[in-house]
């Protein structure tokens, strides 16, 4: 059957997307299986992540096979959290009873962490630059 070039392109992209998603699902399934069999404490999805990372590193899975699916899934990732956040609103008793404490506690701890981590990283970076191990520019590394 003869297909018009745009239709062929759409089919190829769809195949690439589905193939990538399949690879993610297989890695996830293997990660979950390893977790249950080996009694590991690492979540199955994180094991799947490392498995895929290993497969890409050794060349068993080409980056181009999973690139489109990864881009697609990560684009939709924020949406996947909406049902979880909506569920949080269900437990009104926690918020009614402890909201006055939880919200300021979150503000305080997040602010303290910015300041602490920022100063620590700034000091370590300055020290490494002073000792001659200056970090090269990120522009170079990202190339």
């Amino acid at each position: 059957m003869q297909l018009y070039p745009p239709a062929r392109k759409v089919l190829a992209k769809t195949g690439e997307l589905l193939g990538g998603l399949m690879i993610f699902w297989v890695c996830l399934a293997v990660g979950t299986f390893l977790k249950s069999v080996l009694w590991l404490m690492v979540p199955g999805n994180v094991l799947g992540l490392f498995l895929l990372l290993g497969l890409i590193s050794v060349g068993a899975v080409k980056l181009r096979y999973v690139e489109l699916a990864s881009k697609w899934l990560l684009f939709f990732m924020p949406l996947l959290f909406v049902p979880i956040y909506v569920s949080a609103a269900e437990d009104k008793t926690i918020w009614a009873k402890w909201g006055w404490l939880l919200v300021p506690a979150l503000v305080l701890t997040v602010t303290a962490m910015w300041v602490f981590v920022g100063h620590l990283a700034q000091r370590l970076n300055r020290r490494s630059q002073e000792t001659g191990h200056a970090l090269s520019s990120v522009t170079e590394t990202s190339k």
């Binding site: 992540l49 569920s87 949080a88 939880l102 522009t139």
Partner: protein, 268 residues
């Protein structure tokens, strides 16, 4: 309401909020925040139950598993940056993790709160899909963890750069690491707006923060591996487990020792 309608409403609500956000670029109009607010308002106004909403949109949440696996692609792309600055990243990230858990635990331990609430909030600075998964697997409160994560993220986008500037943190790499470690994805997006260096370091701090999660057990208590013949040894050996266990046990305000034996389970 059925699966199709709930799913359509969730997607429509999120993308409407995203459309507004992309036009205004105001962190306060973050699509996750307003997408959620829209759905909560709809459920409350129409009198539907949260349970039915949860059941019908479960397939959306189940996509989080493959989405975490998909993070392998950006991690692989950043491998050069991660390896080149491995020392700096490890020190900052490990310290940040301890600080995050310690600050929440110490602050909230003084109040008669349920331990599950403290545990849920102590995961606030972990990248959202992983934090949610840990909370779910450890029998915590995933919804509350999600709120903590969202809070840390949106706060990072709104106030992060301003607070860092006011406290004298001007090094772009430090700004990136602080935003990435504390406010994960949303903070990373904000760091990318500030500059290439800030964005790259914020991104580098995210995948690395996934790696250190294997140090705790199902109760998020540190694991002490006594029998090195156990399979778990392979994943904990490189972390100097004794030292990490001591600190994490202190952070958890509990003294629990788990002995792992070959083919055996955890013994309290």
């Amino acid at each position: 309401m059925n699966l199709v309608l709930w799913s359509f409403l969730t997607i429509a609500c999120f993308f409407s909020a995203r459309w507004i956000f992309l036009r205004t670029r105001q962190p306060l109009l973050h699509p996750v925040l307003w997408g959620t607010a829209g759905m909560v308002a709809f459920i409350e106004l129409t009198g539907h139950s949260y349970q039915s909403y949860k059941a019908e949109t479960d397939w959306v949440v189940s996509l989080l598993g493959p989405a975490v696996v998909a993070l392998a692609v950006p991690v692989y792309r950043l491998r050069q940056l991660i390896f080149r600055h491995l020392g700096l990243l490890l020190v900052v990230i490990i310290t940040a993790v301890f600080f995050s858990t310690l600050s929440v635990s110490l602050l909230l331990c003084a109040f008669p709160l349920d331990r599950a609430v403290i545990k849920a909030l102590s995961l606030k600075s972990i990248t959202a899909p992983v934090a949610f998964e840990i909370s779910r697997e450890t029998g915590g409160l995933p919804a509350l963890t999600a709120i903590g994560v969202m809070f840390a993220g949106i706060m990072g986008a709104i106030l992060g750069p301003w607070a860092l500037r006011r406290t004298g943190i001007r090094d772009p790499q430090a700004v990136g690491l602080a935003l990435g470690c504390t406010s994960h994805g949303v903070g990373t997006a904000r760091a990318l707006e500030l500059g290439e260096t800030e964005g790259a370091f914020a991104r580098a701090s995210r995948p690395s923060r996934i790696m250190r999660l294997s140090l705790v057990d199902n109760d998020r208590v540190a694991v002490r591996v006594q029998n090195h013949g156990h399979v778990a040894h392979r994943s904990f050996g490189r972390f100097k487990d004794e030292r990490a266990a001591a600190v994490l046990q202190f952070l958890d305000c509990l003294v629990k020792i788990f002995h792992f034996k070959s083919h055996g389970g955890a013994i309290r």
